[in-house]
Amino acid sequence: MSAAKRVQQWATFARTWHIFDCKWQDPYESANIIKKYLMGQHKPIYHPLNDCGDVVVCINSREIALRGDEWRKRAYFHHTGYPGGASWTLAWELHNKDPTMIIKKAVYRAMKGNLQRRHTMQRLFIYHEENVPEDIMKNVSSQIRQSRLVPTRLDHIPEEEVKQYPKVMDYPKDYVLK
C-alpha cells in the first residue's frame, strides 16, 4: 500500500439519500436540520464550492405542527408583479392548498440567498403522506433524527390500556363530565 493510498477514503463525495419524517415537527426548526444535510454541512469535507450536498426526502409534510397560533397568524406574501397584485395567504390556507409548500418555503428561507440555493432545493423531495414513489424510496439509505418527540394521542392508545392505567381517584358519582 502506497503512502498516498493509506488514507484513501472511498466514496467520499457520494450522495446519500436521507429520509425525514415531518410528523409533528416544527417546519422552521426542522428546516435548519434539513438545510444542513442538503448543503452537506454535516460532512467534515464541507466547502461552499464543493458539491457535497445530500438528497433529503421529506414525508408526512401534511402533519407538521406550527407553534402557538401560527396557523392563524402567519401570512405568506405573494406579488404577481402587476399593480394591486399583492396577496397575503394565511398558513392554514396555504397548507390546505398545498401541504408541501410550508416546509418547502421554510427550507428555502433557511438557506442563504445565492446562485446555489435553487439548485440545492432541487435535491429536496417533499411528500405530504407516507407513500413515496418506489424509484425514490429505493435510494434512501439513512434517516434524519427528528428534533421533537412525536406524542401519542390519547384516542390512539388502545382502550384496554387506558382502562388499566393506574388512577389517582374516581370521579364522584354526581360529577358531570363535559
Partner: protein, 159 residues
Amino acid sequence: MVFLTIANLVRVRGPDEFWRKRRIFRLAAHYIGRRRNCYSIAVRNVHRALVYATKARKLKKQDMIDLWNTRITAACEQHNITQFSLKEGLDRANIMLDRKSLSDLACWEPRTFECLAAVAKEKLQLDGFVNYADKKLPTGTELNLRDVMLEHWLKEEKH
C-alpha cells in the same frame, strides 16, 4: 511654468504624470471598457478595489474560521460530542490543537479525529465534567470508549 502665487506651486504634482497614471492603469489592466482606458474612471475603480482588498484581508480570515467551525461541528456531530466539550476535553488532556489543525484532521484523517474525540470524552468522564447538551440531541454513533486505553496517561498531572 511660472507660478505667480505660491498656492499654485503646491498643487503641481511633478513631471512624472505619465508614470503616475501608468501605475493606476497597471492595476486596472484586467478591467473591461472605459474603466481600463480612461484615467479618471480607472482611478476611481482602482481606489475602490484597493479598499475592498484591504477589508477582504480581515474577512478572509473570518471566512476560514467559519469554515473550520462548520467542519469541526460536522465531525463532532458524527461522534455525539459538542464542539465545546471536545475543546474542553482536549484542553484538559493537554492536547493543544487549534481549530485549523482540528478541521484538517477532521477532513483528511477522520480516524485520528475520532480518536481525539474519544480522548476528549474519556477525559471529561474522568474529570466528572457533564455537558448536558451532548445528550440532548444525539446526532451520531456513540464512541466505543473501551478501546481508549489512555486512562493512566489521562490521569497523570499535566503541566
